[in-house]
Amino acid sequence: MEYVSLFVKSIFVDNMIFAYFLGMCSYLAVSKNVKTANGLGLAVIFVLLCTLPLNYLLNKYVLQPGALSWLGGQFAEVDLSFLSFILFIAVIAAFVQLVEMVVERYLPSLYSSLGIFLPLIAVNCAILGGSLFMQQKDFANVGESAVYALGSGIGWYLAIVLLAAIREKMAYSNVPKPLKGIGITFITVGLMGIAFMIFMGISL
């Protein structure tokens, strides 16, 4: 039951885009049509789902204060948390590069549809943000962190596909010239964010 509530919460209540506004750069840049938005969204889900549990283990057994106590009593005092940013981002970047190589080698068709988005993802705030929030929320086990990753990924996917659909329609509407393109997109996202606020504070 806790997993279900965490899952639903991370999609709607703690939505990466509308509650935290993370990953905005690629969100705004790649949401011109539904097809590419779809590709980027799926890639984000995949990378989040793989890197977040990895970073969870890293945090639990290496980084947080007292995490090294499994090595023996003399390490119980060691606090490596100042290294967390750099290790998290290194894991993410290394993972993205690895996936890119594997996909290119073995799944060329997937590579042609997803591959171009992979390098973009290494610098997507939503991925690093997910790991940093995981560190703040201190989950009880790997399962919870994986569920959180999946939920946040789906939330991000949902948000980008929604915006892409709106922007496809908006191309035909009569927007004032200076607002055309990115200006009106900002305002649209703002209004969508306000709409998503109805989920805020819902406890499951």
Binding site: F85, V96, K177, G181
Partner: protein, 201 residues
């Protein structure tokens, strides 16, 4: 380009937020108060400037295959240093706490990576440093404009000092992050009305 152009372009014509649409994430979360926006703007300026400088110095030696990782490591190093220094100074300590994860997220701030890829890897150290600093300032400028309106109407204060008359009912909508998006949308509107060459077809 002359050094002067390198410096002025990112402030207006090529502003990272309103024209290049980079680094939006943090501009929404940290603009509730002017103090937070100011510290964030300075931190980003320092990081973009120094990371451009360092990577421009390293540019000839970086193996292409691990390029992104090397860039991220250098940027992360600078961000951690900034975070640690902010934490250890008495005055900035409470502000660092308020900015919480958003300082860490400077690592993935697209402005930093974007300028390294687009400028520092192909230019000499000094122009790179100037380009980095100017982009940080261009970003900070928008941040401060947005924070000015949000703090004034959302809390009735500026830099924590009451400026609105007593009895002013604070506007909660302005404080919520979606309003920052709408505000940036309006800034883009004004910017592009003034400079028609930036309008999209």
């Amino acid at each position: 380009m002359t050094l002067k152009e390198t410096f002025l372009t990112p402030l207006f014509k090529g502003n990272p937020i309103t024209v290049l649409v980079l680094g939006i994430c943090s501009s929404l979360a940290v603009t509730v108060t002017l103090k937070g926006a100011l510290v964030m703007a300075l931190s980003v300026t320092v990081v973009t400037g120094l990371s451009n400088l360092v990577l421009s110095l390293l540019r000839k030696g970086i193996p292409n295959r691990v390029r992104i990782i090397v860039q991220l490591v250098v940027v992360a190093l600078l961000v951690i240093l900034v975070d640690q220094i902010l934490k250890s100074i008495e005055v900035t300590f409470p502000i660092d706490k308020q900015l919480s994860v958003y300082i860490g997220l400077i690592i993935t701030n697209c402005i930093v990576m974007g300028r390294i890829e687009a400028f520092a890897l192909g230019n000499k150290p000094i122009p790179s440093l100037i380009d980095g600093l100017a982009n940080g300032l261009g970003y900070g400028m928008i941040l401060i404009v947005v924070a000015f309106f949000r703090e004034l109407f959302g809390s009735g204060t500026l830099f924590g000092l009451q400026v609105m008359p007593a009895g002013y009912v604070t506007n909660n909508l302005v404080i919520l992050p979606p309003f920052a998006l709408i505000l940036i949308g309006c800034i883009i509107w004004i910017h592009r009305s003034a400079d028609k060459s930036l309008q999209e077809k």
